[in-house]
Amino acid sequence: MNSSPLPRSQRIFRALLRVLPFDFRANYGHEMEGVFHEQEREIKERGGPMGFLKLWGETIAGIFRTAPSEHWEILKQDLLYGLRMMRKNAGFTALAVFTLGLGIGANTAIFSVVHAVLMRPLPYPEGDRLIFIRQRAVKEGIDDLTFSAHEIEDYRSQNQTLSGLVEYHTMSFILYGHGDPDRIRTAVVSANYFNLFKVQPLLGRSFLAEDDKLGAPAVLILSYEYWKDKFGADPGIVGRTFELNDRIHTVVGVLPPVPQYPAESDVYMPTSACPFRSGKAFIDNRDARMLAAFARIKPGVTLAQVRADLSTIAGRLKSEYPKSYPENMGYTAVSSPLQEELTHGARPTLLVLLGAAAFVLLIACANVANLTLARMSRRERELAVRTALGAGRSRLLRQLLTESFLLALVGGALGLILAYSSLELLTQFAARLTPRAREINIDAGVLAFTLLAALGTSIIFGTISAVFTRANLSASLKEGSTGSGAGQTKNRVRSALIVSQVAFSFMLLIGAGLMLRSLIKMLRVDPGFVSQRVLAMRTTFSFSKYAKTEQLVEAIKKVLDRVQTEPGVISAALSSSYPLEPEAISAGPNAFTGTFKIHGRDLAPGEAPPVGSYSVISPAYFRTLGIPLKEGREFTETDGGKGQMQVAMVNEAMRRRFWPNEDPVGKGISFDDGATWATIVGIAGDVREFGLDRPALPEIYIPHSEGPSPSTLSVRTIADPQTMSETITRALHEVDPQLAVTHIVTLEQARTESTTSPRVTASLLGIFGGLALLIAAAGIGGIMALAVSQRVREIGIRIALGAQRSKILRMVLGQGLLLAALGVGIGLAGALAVTHLAKSLLFEVTPTDPATFLGVAVVLVAAAILASYLPARRAAAIDPIEALRTE
């Protein structure tokens, strides 16, 4: 073309041509411009604006019709060529696919969890308007007071911003008439509970307002899973009746298979059917709290407005009932989106793992880029010849990218298989962190992520390798295959890739190291009890059968006496829960707390009463669990049972908190605002009830004859407790065939299970870090071997000139070490910048724990030395005569 500026139509046409593949344009673009030019001229001669429109229409349509098939043609060619190259280099292909598969698999697996738990909206209509409401006692450090019946009613009737507010609590009831007495997890909810969640029952009906009235006939709605597992999905279930704690309950509906928050229940019942909730003692007492509250925000109302509304109500309650909400309590009501409430516990762990997985993928990318560069040096001549034969540069880039994408795609498929096979394990892990774990699956969103990860990966490593291969092509033909100048650029690129791998590995290993140190600290922590050889189980006494305290005490005595006569049993005790019981951990300590009064200490006006956590225990509890008695005495069979609280025990945390300078033994405390007083008879050692990483809370022990029915049995045995479980169940059923015995575990199991989450996090990070270390070490070994092979001649000359072999060895080792040191330096800066993000996951370890940092650095440097040792030895063993002869 001439240099005069092109008319606009020609410029537009030329721009349009860019839709076509480069080669096509290179070959025919010029001619096509000519044709278009002539068509245009002809129309100009004939005149008429319609002609121009038609020409442009046909031209644009023609180009867009031709472009896809032309691109596909090239893609087909490149794919076939790429497949041939993959087959030809099976070793490289296997290594690259494996590395990428691990990287993409780790990301897909973690992403499937993140996607289901943190990203997907709750599976209810307008689930984003569901909120969770909490009452807090800020000054007492209580994050969730739960609600009393009065409070639920107040917030329900006084709010302006909610379209509904429902209550929820769980209970365990015993269902009779289906084989062994079965303990069923029951959710007690407001009548409009399912309306609030907008869940329609699969069978039957929802609860009605009448169901909620005191004295209404007892009705039940079954969860889908319970209906399926226990009743074989019997379509005629609606209308059937069940005996539940002495009352006849009628099934009125079955839920669809929806995830249940905050916990899974077997059946749902309205508040009127729960003997505790409908009891006068609970309903009338503003301070008797056990309910959770969910609500739905009115359309068009913001969360901020809801929060303001709630704090107005809280303020009103405070001034109306100063006794229930004293100034020093710091009483407030807050709300958070239900989605957030259900997942905030999982967020830090999942994000740390996702970050770690991304690191693994980056390392895999750098590694495959390096492998590809190495392979490219072998293909350089082929590529150079193709360039010489007229293949455009961008054509080659495109082909290399296609090859990269093929590799990544196969890697992605492998990754998907890996992710799929780890799904069950991950779901179990996530279930420790969030009730949404059951929703984890590999769906279209996750598949799209995998595809994107593969595409992104191939672009990263494909571009790195293609760009630096391109830089060399011209040099390659001129110089033959020993390329020096360009070769050095490439070695620098490869070294940089290795350094980045070491840096990322360092960060990953730091993460793994910190988690491991936390875990070890957690396992070494003294839990306050001896977990070996103790069997624990849930034993739910029917409270309708043992309605009177004397009946229950009598039954408990029989049970304990019977179990203790069993050969192999050292001692047995009943209690409201046992340490590290999974259900107690997930319910949290606040579920078991209450206020009390200390004798002789009057509260100043506005001062909040002391708060402690309660445990109901039978006499041999401390002996059975190996909890040391620090002072005073344990409960005996003669304690209590007189219808009023007479004795109590406290733990050391309680003493430190409330009697820092005196001995609480002999002092009086009251749970009914001073109406009756109990004397503290002993002090027990602290027990980490709610997690090995959570310090013991102030705890009050009450004899079983004076509190609510204790529902767990612990048995210390002589031999392996596991072997005793059947014997003990049989013994229990001898005493009371209607006793529900479930959840049989050893305390060792409970203790192990309580550390599942940090253990899995540590192992996943450990696996990621180990992989990274392996990849980085292999990378260092590879590049040092290459460097040695490129310098055989030079090293040969040095040796011939008298250089000592040990010096050559040290030189190569030093170079490997330099790469590792650079990587460690960069990784150190990176780790210092990011580890604080994982702070909430650590236990008694700081995010910059010097021991971990030092240890990881030593491990990485040692791995680098080890990896460089083989090439170094080979360099030192070079025979100068051979070396000079080969070139």
Binding site: Y28, V35, E38, Q39, A61, G62, R65, T66
Partner: protein
């Protein structure tokens, strides 16, 4: 623009669209450059088949790749030439393919005639 593809002969190893056939036909008598082919096809079909630059060169690339046409080295006198133009010539194979396609259509037409398809009164 292009007529239905079912006219394509499945027996042929390479698919021949009507547009491709027209281009081969245009080159049957003489060598031509792209614009000339385009005009020739348009003229002979009374404007019923109109090629655009994009479709034409897609076809040229295909025919060239199959070896049915080649670029000609002969060029007209400089006064009549445009340096952007390239001239194309039908090869022997290309001619055979065009003939085979024409025969196939002839057979088809014969069959239609034997069925007295054309003799029947037009129902429209």
């Amino acid at each position: 623009m292009s007529p239905p593809r079912e006219t394509r002969d499945r027996e042929e190893q390479v698919p021949l669209t009507p547009a491709m056939f027209h281009v081969l036909l245009a080159l049957a008598d003489e060598e031509m450059h792209g614009y000339a082919i385009l005009k020739e096809v348009e003229r002979r079909t009374d404007g019923k088949v109109r090629l655009s630059a994009g479709t034409l060169y897609g076809i040229i690339k295909r025919l060239n790749g199959e070896g049915w046409i080649v670029e000609s080295s002969k060029r007209p006198a400089a006064s009549l030439d445009d340096e952007r133009r390239r001239y194309y010539r039908l090869t022997e194979v290309g001619r055979q393919v065009a003939v085979a396609e024409a025969r196939r259509m002839e057979e088809l037409l014969k069959m239609a005639r034997n069925k007295k398809l054309f003799a029947k009164p037009n129902l429209a």
